[in-house]
């Protein structure tokens, strides 16, 4: 059996990134993800990589853009207010088709908000976040093992589709220590002939989101992006179902909220109430079709979130019968309570 070690979520993510071949990290301090830059600062020089603390999140994501254009596997991390600043660079990278991995270890907002974990940046993550018609892949780990495993996947998806990939965790997950088996490299390699390496023995090439001429060049770029998003929607949805088959009520939750919902399902089953849990691990692409099929013959669907109902909108869009969809959420860094979930589900009986 492979050796399990105890690691904090933030540290495990950073180590997994290094295993995935991440050679460059640029970031700016913000709670509750400060372990990430500290870990990279210590570890990257040991493996011949580069850590640089940027002067701001704006600068950090721009450094990521430069490093990505140079062909490196590169990462940054932040928490909610910092993620707002990074939207500038993410939009540019989406338009320029540059891969990178960005972790948002969410905290409560709006504004400076608080430092407790939250899921209130779902809209920002799954609707592009910056200006323009674009998407990023959004991964939603629910425990420390998964945080590490999905980090490996994040780098592969970023390179495969030339797209920014967001790891959407929250402060609880980042700060939590759990045993895990460190993941292995995927072994996949991706050629990057588009990288900016100097015009030696080839024509000069440039990487840019801007398209001014000819007249339809920008629409053409957008159509290419949309085609990539279509392929991703068809191929990269990951979701987990727990006791959904015979359930009367299906809970839908991701990340830390899903851990709590999972506990509620176990307790409900102990009381003879058939509940199940559907847990999306990709928030974009969202598992709409799976959700629609699973919930079609169920009596009730309950979204559980640490927000005012952001993923809930996707659940509503996916379910044919909106009348059977209910929502329970806690806001501003508060955690959903197992008892309150149980009470809500019992009220459907």
């Amino acid at each position: 059996m492979e050796e399990k070690i105890l690691m904090k979520g933030n540290d495990a993510m950073a180590e997994a990134a290094i295993i995935a071949g991440c050679s460059h990290y640029f970031g700016y301090p913000i709670t509750p993800q400060n372990e990430v830059p500290a870990y990279f600062a210590k570890r990257l020089p040991q493996v011949g990589g580069t850590f640089l603390q940027a002067e701001s999140e704006l600068a950090a994501i721009s450094m990521v853009m430069g490093a990505s254009a140079g062909g490196a596997r590169v990462m940054t991390s932040t928490s909610s207010p910092g993620m707002s600043l990074k939207q500038e660079g993410i939009s540019y990278m989406a338009g320029a088709k540059l891969p990178c991995v960005i972790a948002n270890i969410m905290r409560g907002g709006p504004g400076l908000g608080g430092i407790a974990g939250s899921q209130a940046d779902y809209f920002q993550a799954t609707r592009g976040g910056g200006n323009g018609d674009y998407q990023t892949i959004v991964l939603a780990p629910g425990n420390v093992q998964e945080l590490a495993d999905l980090t490996i996947l994040a780098f592969d998806l970023a390179d495969k589709y030339r797209i920014p990939v967001i790891i959407l965790g929250d402060g609880y997950l980042g700060q939590m220590s759990e045993p895990l088996v460190l993941p292995k490299p995927s072994g996949k390699t991706f050629e990057k002939p588009w990288a900016i390496t100097g015009a030696k023995d080839r024509d000069p090439q440039f990487i840019a989101s801007m398209r001014l001429t000819p007249e339809n060049a920008l629409e053409q770029l957008n159509l290419e992006l949309q085609e990539t998003y279509r392929v991703i929607r068809e191929n990269e949805v990951i979701t987990e179902c727990y006791q959904c088959d015979d359930a009367d009520t299906v809970l839908v939750a991701y990340g830390t909220a899903a851990r709590i919902a999972n506990k509620a399902v176990i307790k409900l089953r102990e009381q003879g109430i058939n509940a199940g849990l559907l847990r999306p691990k990709t928030l974009w692409p969202f598992p709409s079709e799976i959700l629609r099929k699973i919930t079609n013959d169920k009596k009730k669907v309950l979204t559980v979130e640490m927000s005012a109902g952001q993923m809930h909108e996707d659940v509503l869009l996916a379910c044919d019968d909106k009348n059977k969809v209910d929502f329970y959420g806690r806001l501003g860094g508060a955690l959903p309570k197992v008892d309150e979930i149980i009470e809500r589900v019992k009220s459907y009986e």
């Binding site: 600068a59 430069g66 590169v74 100097g198 440039f206 840019a208």
Partner: protein, 249 residues
């Protein structure tokens, strides 16, 4: 047999530029291209283009290029250089880009002594957006957003980039030049060459500020624009070498 005295620089693309008549960008692009030819580094040069009039600079120079968000060119150049360590990374920027929205990136890249060369074109106005007040707009200078002339009691004085950067320890080379006449164009070329040569040698951060004409947005013809630089800008922005650690050594 006739002797070749001038050839179109290999590092300059034959694309027709979008620059206005009398604009200084074209002159500076050509100087950079000549320097890249002379140092034989076209194939290893990576150009980071800013947001502003020179947003398409990567199409005019015959080198690999990369876009940056407004003001972030030094940060993008930092990331690129830290991956492509043996390449020559140029950050080409205008005054709004370098001293307003990108002031933080400018100062911190310089302060780290990032091994890049920043070419800063100062024409005292925002050109691309149609002539708004820049951080380098002169006292009393009329622009779209300072219609009565820059009021320094209200919006502060014009900022001097070389002097600011000269307060930092790390920069290796800092010089201010101008392209308003032939003598100064030649001086500018020498400064660009020295700045880039230092990067080739891995000496660290080099910075060249270039005073440049914007006839369209100044509302002056090209000849009067050149004269305005000499009479109005140069007294406020002294043309000189602020630092040259290569010479000191």
């Amino acid at each position: 047999m006739s002797k070749m005295t001038y050839a179109f620089p290999q590092s300059l693309s034959e694309t027709r530029t979008h620059y206005c008549a009398g604009c200084g960008h074209g002159i500076v692009h050509k100087l950079i291209a000549q320097v890249l030819d002379e140092l034989n580094i076209r194939e290893k040069t990576l150009l980071v283009a800013p947001v502003g009039c020179s947003v398409l600079a990567y199409k005019y120079l015959n080198v690999d290029g990369l876009e940056a968000a407004h003001g972030r060119a030094p940060a993008v150049a930092t990331g690129l250089k830290r991956v492509q360590k043996d390449k020559i990374v140029l950050s080409y920027q205008g005054d709004g880009d370098l001293l307003a929205i990108g002031a933080g990136e400018t100062i911190h890249a310089a302060n780290r002594g990032e091994d890049i060369t920043v070419i800063f074109l100062n024409n005292a106005i925002y050109g691309m957006t149609g002539g708004q007040m820049a951080p380098t707009t002169m006292e009393g200078q009329k622009t779209l957003t300072s219609p009565q002339g820059r009021d320094i009691a209200d919006v502060g004085s014009a900022m001097r980039a070389c002097e600011l950067i000269d307060t930092l320890e790390a920069p290796y080379y800092i010089e201010r030049c101008s392209v308003h006449d032939v003598k100064n164009v030649n001086r500018t070329k020498n400064a660009i060459k020295r700045a880039i040569k230092y990067q080739v040698e891995g000496r660290g951060y080099s910075f060249v500020e270039i005073l440049s004409m914007c006839p369209t947005n100044w509302g002056l013809d090209p000849v009067k624009s050149a004269k305005w630089i000499e009479e109005d800008m140069v007294p406020y922005y002294p043309l000189k070498k602020f630092r040259d650690k290569g010479e000191e050594a």
